[in-house]
């Protein structure tokens, strides 16, 4: 008695928006993410301008490690977009390679970040140490959670989720594209977090 109901506009575009549904949905989600990180960045501005003194992050944060992490995330953005391009070119093998690399870049980012965190804890630099450290842990911690979230999605699309390539390749390609939008956003946030926390001069 069960009838399969097909959800429309998974692979084709809606005539009114010109977009498939997932793309508009993910962009709306990213809009809410902009507000979330926007609130944190404005908190940084507010607390910094209201403080009499402010730490120079480079004096006690590890700039070389953070620079490597920036490169890792930028590289992962390229591999992510290449995984989508590989599917567009009907090359599933290359897709697996690039998506796998993207996942590994996420792992590398978190491992490097954990080294940084461990060093801070060792030197008793905790969120309670100063306003700067509270902001550092809040902003990088939330960003780290976003990296983990992206890795879960990417891992699924690399592994069990990739079976869809056999049954509905266009829909699968779209899934990879919107997962990519999120991953690039996480990279974009880091591009602003890195100079804000590690490089801006103190006062």
């Amino acid at each position: 008695m069960s009838t399969a109901i097909e959800i429309p506009y998974n692979s084709t575009e809606r005539p009114d928006t010109g977009l498939y549904n997932a793309k508009l949905g993910v962009w709306l989600f990213l809009a809410s993410e902009v507000m979330l990180f926007g609130a944190l960045f404005s908190t940084y501005v507010l607390l910094r301008t209201g403080a009499d003194t402010w730490e120079h992050g480079a004096e006690f944060l590890n700039v070389p490690l953070a620079t490597i992490n920036t490169m890792v995330l930028i590289f992962s953005s390229v591999t992510m977009v290449m995984s989508w391009a590989s599917l567009k070119m009907k090359n599933f093998g290359k897709y697996k390679l690039y998506m796998g690399l993207t996942f590994l870049c996420g792992v590398a980012f978190l491992v490097i970040k954990s080294f940084e965190y461990a060093a801070k804890f060792e030197h008793h630099l905790l969120p309670s140490t100063s306003t700067f450290m509270a902001l550092y842990f809040t902003m990088t911690g939330l960003h780290g959670l976003h990296v983990i979230g992206g890795m879960i999605v990417n891992g699924y699309l690399w592994g069990p989720g990739s079976k869809m390539w056999q049954t509905d390749p266009e829909r699968f390609t779209n899934r990879v594209e919107v997962a990519g939008l999120y991953w690039h956003f996480v990279d974009l946030v880091w591009i602003f977090l890195f100079p804000t926390l590690y490089l801006l001069p103190g006062k």
């Binding site: 809009a31 902009v34 507000m35 404005s42 700039v63 590289f75 953005s77 567009k88 690039h184």
Partner: protein
Amino acid sequence: MSDTHHEDVHRHVKTYIRVFVALAVGTIITVLASNFHLGIILGIIVALIIATVKGSLVAAFFMHLSAERKPIYWVLVLTATFVVAMVGLIMFARRDQQGRQQGIFAVPAKHVPVHHAETPEGAHKE
């Protein structure tokens, strides 16, 4: 980007590599510039300009915003409006408060509880 053709993708791949190189160079420039002791204001301006350029490259090419449908742009315009309103209102409130007192989180005198330097003897005894 939904109607991207096979040959277009080949062209895009070359662009992605160029953007990657630009982002890597931008990162190195940001780190080097921070060692130049440009002063607080100039240091912040330089760092944020480079970050904005890098962020724009990611958004334009990796997120395909350079060739996207109109509804996406409207979503972003709306988001930008709300971000500007949020930051703007906070900064206006801060300036307003600063005009009357020193320090952003200074509590008005009438709300400050009076602390006695010395507790009268026997005050804590039951």
